[in-house]
Symmetry: C2
Subunit: 217 residues, 2 copies
């Protein structure tokens, strides 16, 4: 059964599970291609070959779909990054590069970090927000000790600060690095009027500088 | 003539100018009250007492209205902050506090910094984007020398870096500090699951730490 198959009503639990996963996959593909903000519930339904009303038996809202994807992003990001940090250091720049790279490798996470507080956490039930925040918390409970082991000079509070600000920087730099066609045209017209950063390079620079500020405090 | 007057068609240039300003004022009031993302063109039209079609003789789109407000925010922010920086320093923390305070005093700017790349710069003509980016550029041309005079150890590139990242941090921390009702309820249920920062305190801390990282580089 493919995501384009035009599903009949699922009756068995494994069929339901397949459809649930197919909806998430379709939303992920569209978000990577078009940007999270541009993906409607109707577009996800069309991509997966279901009616919108059928899709809403699986998810409360469009925003739940993306918040569930964000949950998965955190669940995947934390163990792989903790493992990479086990071999990083002792130079702070080395640790910063591993951390920045682990975020830059997840363009969907970078977008979802911006959309979560702005819209996703507003248009879902308390239960869905709780599941997402618990996933974030479990990720940080893995990541903080891993970062502290890589850089013992950084205490727990500073580790949390670095994660929080790296997330905010990733969300903002992602937007800045993927400008509108109008901004691209303006830059071509006169590079002095506006410029836009390379995402990975600017995030890496940010994490290096902020980490060095935390260590200097 | 008040903004609620239910305007007849404006014929004289000064009447047109009044309506243009009344539309901007209404959008600003609604954005401060409800958040930029929640303010529709229809709501602005209702607030100012005009038909939507009449309002669209003054502005291309909802997004132009907010990008014009962002232009004004930059035009007002730069001279007052440059003046405040003239009396700041020589301690980096002192300069950081002036800079962070000048941004935290402008909650509308903090919201518009997030919405500009995400939506505003996408739904307007090249001319409107050009006017906005030129206003940003002129602000930075005032601010960079003012910051460099307050902290001569910070070169021009580092000054620009500080402004760019302070803007991204302000946009992200503003969202984090103004969470959804669901996140507020979750925090009340169990403060360990999620927390949200105080906006001014977290922005000030960020600018201090990032500035110290730039000076350590």
């Amino acid at each position: 059964m493919t995501t384009k198959a035009g599903f009949l009503r699922a009756r068995r639990p494994e069929q339901k599970q397949q459809r649930y996963a197919a909806i998430l996959d379709a939303a992920r593909d569209l978000a990577v291609r078009d940007g999270v903000g541009a993906v409607s519930l109707a577009a996800i339904a069309a991509e997966v070959g279901m009616h919108k009303s059928a899709l809403l038996r699986y998810f409360e809202t469009r925003e739940e779909i993306f918040l569930r994807l964000a949950e998965t992003e955190f669940q995947e990001w934390a163990p792989s990054t903790a493992a990479a940090l086990a071999h990083a250091g002792p130079e702070p720049d080395d640790v910063a590069d591993v951390l920045a790279g682990s975020v830059a490798d997840r363009p969907l996470l970078c977008q979802l970090l911006l959309h979560s507080p702005l819209t996703l956490e507003r248009n879902v039930s308390l239960d869905v927000v709780r599941a997402y925040k618990q996933a974030v918390r479990r990720s940080l409970e893995q990541m903080v000790p891993a970062l502290h082991r890589a850089l013992p000079a950084l205490d727990e509070e500073a580790c949390l600060d670095l994660f929080a600000m790296a997330g905010i920087a990733a969300a903002g730099l992602w937007q800045a690095a993927h400008p509108s066609p109008q901004v691209v045209a303006l830059h071509a017209e006169d590079p002095n009027t506006t410029h836009y950063p390379d995402f990975r390079a600017s995030l890496t620079r940010f994490v290096r500088v902020y980490l060095s500020g935390l260590l200097a405090a």
